[in-house]
Amino acid sequence: MDVIRKFFRAVGENIASIGTTFAQGDAKTRLSYLIFGIGPLMRGQIVKGLAFLSCEALFIWYMVSFGWTYLSKFSTLGTVETHKEHRVTVYGDNSFLILLFGLLTIVLIFLVILVWRMNIEENRYEESLLKAGKKLPANKSVLGSLLDGNFDKTLLALPVLGIFLFTVLPIMFMICVAFTNYDKNHQSPTNLFTWVGLDNFKQLFTFGSSGFGTTFLKVLAWTMVWAFFATFLDYFLGMAVAILINKKGIKFKKLWRTILVITIAVPQFVSLLYVYKMFANDGLVNGYLMKWGWISSPIPFWTDPMLARITIIVVNIWIGIPYMMLIATGLLMNIPEELYESARIDGATPFQMFRSITLPYMLFVTGPFLLTQFTGNLNNFNVIYLLTKGQPQSMKMAENAGQTDLLVTWLYKMTVTNTDYKMAAVIGIMVFLVVAVTSLIVYNMLPSVRDEGGFQ
């Protein structure tokens, strides 16, 4: 509530400031309301003035030559259908590009308003400096500040632009797609797609044979179970292996570590594929077990749903332990030796020492890391996709979902295999919500967060 009140107060103050600056400002300032940066230019602030002016010029050029065509069709996403003239195809409106560049144009309009506001603020600031009888900063020092006081702007300009273009804009686009009927029957450039409101979300929460509801809940449940086991089994087993290697009297510590670490270096698309083949019904493991007469028919490591889930988790231990071992090794060395000494004098067993010294320390220090591991595992695409591709499928699940599919692999299948972009977008938003909510809950449960609060 407080945030909202603050926000509205800030907006109100801004609008008031725009008005008073205009009322009290001189002609140069007033002219700047129309032509960006003309005030600073006339006051000799060439660098700033040109920067504002070029923003406006670029924007007008962009809108005239490019942006307006897309923005004007944004509300319908295009109406001109693709048609044939003789045997030649004449493409109509491209809904995809209209949506994408329409969004881009809207964002740019907001940005230009922001620049306009900055331009007004600059005028006000310059006027107040001049009125107070001070000198305006030299152009050279304005430029120089980009390497000193304003160095952050120089450093962040490219990264922020990159993230905007290749992360923010695509995410905004996909959120919009969730409200359209963009799927295999409405594919650009041959077919148009358009806005459909909340229809897709309704389908997600429709339970019964035609809806996604039951399948979604099943996939979600397995995703959570997977993330839990994948995170905590790896964590504790990795710690155990690290303790084992660190044990006094064990030689060749470096060798053991290197053996484990090598597995990180081999690309997963090679190693996991081999592991998959090893455990297949007709793979090496079953082959040898049968040859030795231990089993009479192959163990369905990948085809039985329950067993497939267990196998995936076990294989993930194989992947995860080396990382965790490295982390734990580094951290274990940081625990003050005196703590163990005094515990030993008190006659504590190794297990007691682990429980009351090692574990609390590790949990405290690695809390935030565990959280990122957990959310990372919620979206762990490679392990699932390279092993089972989400299979086995089942007649009890909708839209190709398999028994070992995570939300993210399901989303991938919808995008690439089924080209059902609208539902993929809906699932994507759901994944975001799941990750955000779990992060929030777990974050507040973290010992490091709670203790910090306790000390304050």
Binding site: L58, W61, Y62, S65, F66, T69, T82, H86, R87, V88, T89, V90, Y91, F101, L165, K184, N185, Q187, P189, T190, N191, S209, S210, N281, D282, G283, G287, M290, S296, S297, P298, P300, T303, D304, P305, A308, Q391, P392, Q393, S394, M395, K396, M397, N400, G402, Q403, V416, T417, N418, T419
Partner: protein, 403 residues
């Protein structure tokens, strides 16, 4: 227009990269990797015979039939101008606007020179959309003579495999191989489409006694310790028999060596005590042309597609890589009549149903049905009601695709 945006956004930093977009005078061809060389040779011959079209740059890329349709649909613009695809993708391609109708000049020739099933496969609604390339997309049995003496019944094959401790491979979680059982017992599943590739009606009787017999047989096959799910010779271990197609004949010869043998699919004894012949799909590989914005280029593409699918080239392709032709003249040649794999396929084709149009979702749905068996949701112990539930759901979902 697009370029202007690029300049605004990238401030010219990447201007060099922009020159790389495809030119109008380039014709891209997608074929499977093992026929890339063959196709390039044929294009050279085509250019010599048609100097009018020699001005284009022809670019052959190895994109297999499996990937071609998916890639075309993702982005028609960046897709190939001419591409080979398996016929089950045709309706999807038509509705995504990735297939141009066969040129009126070529239509008559395609219809008369190729076998009727192939022409039907290339037709959506009443319009001919593609050039048939092969008639060999069917399956039959490869087996090891030293293990299996009589490949005429499924029970006999499984018994021989079990005795020898060897595996029998069939991909029961594929909508393509599954139909061997369902169509064998007389269950039906066909779709009707309109001219734009939209599905308008579904004729199915899977949820019937016939369907139940078939599913029960699949479940029983799965229960055999010798059964393995799969249909690629190269992936099979310890294999004595495999249901597979002609494209694997080379690999099968490598695998079985002197004991290599082929046969039509076996019969099986249903739970009602009657014998049923395994059926299945007879399928086709097709050559498609993408809709074009340029009349001359379209003519060149049409001419090249007609050339690559002509009888002589089909025969030459058989010699090079063993693909069985759809051209009637080519089918009569001695070399093809003498080929063991193609003979077995020809024999099997009497029992199969020419594969019509199926929606893309059918294939993944069929995988779900097969996986339900493989994963043990449906077993030999399942009651008729449980099996029927699965079939009813399957049938309802199939029908829903045509709404």
């Amino acid at each position: 227009m697009k370029k202007k945006l690029a300049v605004v956004l990238m401030a010219g930093a990447l201007a060099a990269a922009m020159g790389m977009s495809a030119y109008a005078d380039e014709i891209k061809v997608w074929v499977a990797d093992n026929v890339v060389g063959f196709t390039e040779e044929q294009i050279e011959a085509f250019k010599e015979a048609n100097p009018d079209f020699a001005g284009y740059d022809y670019l052959v890329e190895p994109v297999g039939e499996g990937d071609a349709a998916g890639n075309m649909i993702t982005d028609v613009e960046a897709g190939a101008d001419i591409f080979v695809f398996a016929q089950d993708q045709i309706a999807r391609l038509v509705s995504a606007g990735a297939l141009e109708e066969v040129a009126p000049d070529n239509e008559e020739a395609v219809k008369t020179e190729n076998d009727a099933g192939a022409v039907a496969a290339a037709t959506v609604g009443d319009i001919l959309y593609a050039y048939p390339l092969t008639s060999d997309n069917g399956y039959f049995l490869y087996y090891d003579k030293s293990v299996i003496s009589d490949p005429s019944t499924l029970e006999g094959i499984l018994a021989a495999c079990e005795e020898a401790g060897k595996n029998f491979y069939m991909e029961i979680n594929s909508g393509w191989y599954q139909t061997a059982f369902f169509f064998g017992t007389g269950a039906e599943l066909t779709y009707e489409t309109d001219d734009d590739g939209n599905f308008t009606a579904c004729n199915t009787s899977y949820a019937s006694d016939a369907g139940l017999l078939a599913l029960r047989e699949i479940v029983e096959l799965k229960a055999s310790p010798s059964f393995q799910n799969g249909s690629a010779v190269g992936e099979a271990t310890n294999c004595a028999a495999i249901v597979d197609g002609t494209w694997d004949s080379g690999a099968a010869q490598d695998l079985f060596g002197d004991n290599y043998a082929c046969a039509k699919l076996p019969t099986f004894e249903g739970s009602d005590g009657k014998q049923y012949q395994m059926s299945g799909f007879g399928g086709f590989k097709l050559l498609g042309v993408k809709p074009q914005e340029d009349e001359d280029k379209l003519m060149a593409c049409d001419a090249l597609a007609a050339w690559l699918s002509s009888g002589d080239v089909q025969l030459a392709r058989f010699d090079a890589v063993g693909w069985g032709p759809s051209n009637l003249e080519a089918q009569k040649s001695d070399a093809i009549q003498a080929d063991a794999a193609l003979s077995a396929l020809a024999e099997q084709l009497q029992y199969t149903i020419p594969q019509g149009q199926y929606p893309g979702e059918y294939w993944t749905l069929a995988t779900s049905l097969g996986d339900s068996v493989i994963s043990g949701e449906l077993t030999v112990d399942s009651s008729d009601d449980e099996l029927m539930d699965a079939l009813t759901k399957f049938q309802d979902t199939c029908i829903s695709y045509a709404e």
